[in-house]
Symmetry: C2
Subunit: 157 residues, 2 copies
């Protein structure tokens, strides 16, 4: 499971015209070192501050937003819980424990059956969530559809 490195992240930021600030460095450090924790904004803030850096929560959010826009990390949203971010961009399934909430990355190759996952990862699957994001037929077929500001809509009755 290769993970993006500190240097790759910083390099990409620099190369795309972002300034390398102490705050961004601190945040990137946390992401690289604690990426497998799927940290949320507050944990990142805390950790970044431990490393004797001056950072604000606004900055953490801003930076996570930039990184995510740049496709360098991904955001996970949870019900009733602080969102988390995901540093590992390889295709995988997040195994979220309903008791302790631990999130484990499960890499897909071998098989896709819940039973197999249970067996291999010692995880009992009771519920699944799968979403593919992309572009629907309308939006790829219609000529230049003015998409009213990314409002979620749905097939009309």
């Amino acid at each position: 499971m290769k993970m993006i490195t500190r240097e790759e992240l910083i390099g990409k930021l620099k190369e795309r015209g972002f300034k390398i600030t102490p705050q961004r460095l601190a945040i990137v450090n946390v992401l690289v070192k604690r990426g497998h924790l799927h940290p949320g904004a507050n944990l990142i803030l805390e950790e970044a501050r431990k490393k004797t850096e001056r950072v604000s929560l606004s900055t953490v959010y801003a930076t996570l937003g930039e990184l995510s826009q740049q496709g360098l990390i991904k955001n996970l949203e949870f019900d009733q819980l602080e969102n988390r971010c995901e540093v590992n961009l390889e295709e995988h399934i997040n195994l979220v424990c309903k008791l302790c909430g631990k999130i484990t990355d499960y890499h897909i190759p071998p098989s896709l059956e819940p039973k197999d996952i249970a067996r291999e990862a010692g995880f009992i699957v009771t519920d699944a969530r799968m979403e593919y994001y992309g572009y629907c037929r309308n939006c790829t077929t219609l000529p230049k559809r003015a998409h009213a500001g990314r409002q979620i809509q749905d097939e009309n009755a």
Copy 2:
């Protein structure tokens, strides 16, 4: 794609000791008729009120919570957007359009490759989200782990 019926839903509620109130009926009606829209709390409120029912937003949330706890619907959470609920509980993938936001249910049987989905559903996949929820090894192995109130945690470094 069979969908749960009004009668099934009401039957299950009654049989589990829930009172059948006009508010619950109105909400169930919306879910049954507009389930494929993946409606959010506000849409449900609006629709329920159209049918000349007196309902409050609190009640909509409460009822959705109950239905979801009873396993009769599912909740979908979205970034920056009102959550939606899902009435179709058959295993499927939600295809969420990044432009118009339309959500389409894609039923899994045939295959699982993004390319195939693109071809069959006219949907171009750029991003995937998959999560399995359940119980991790610790929580099934350890003897009666006092799980500190369902706080999300994670593997420690």
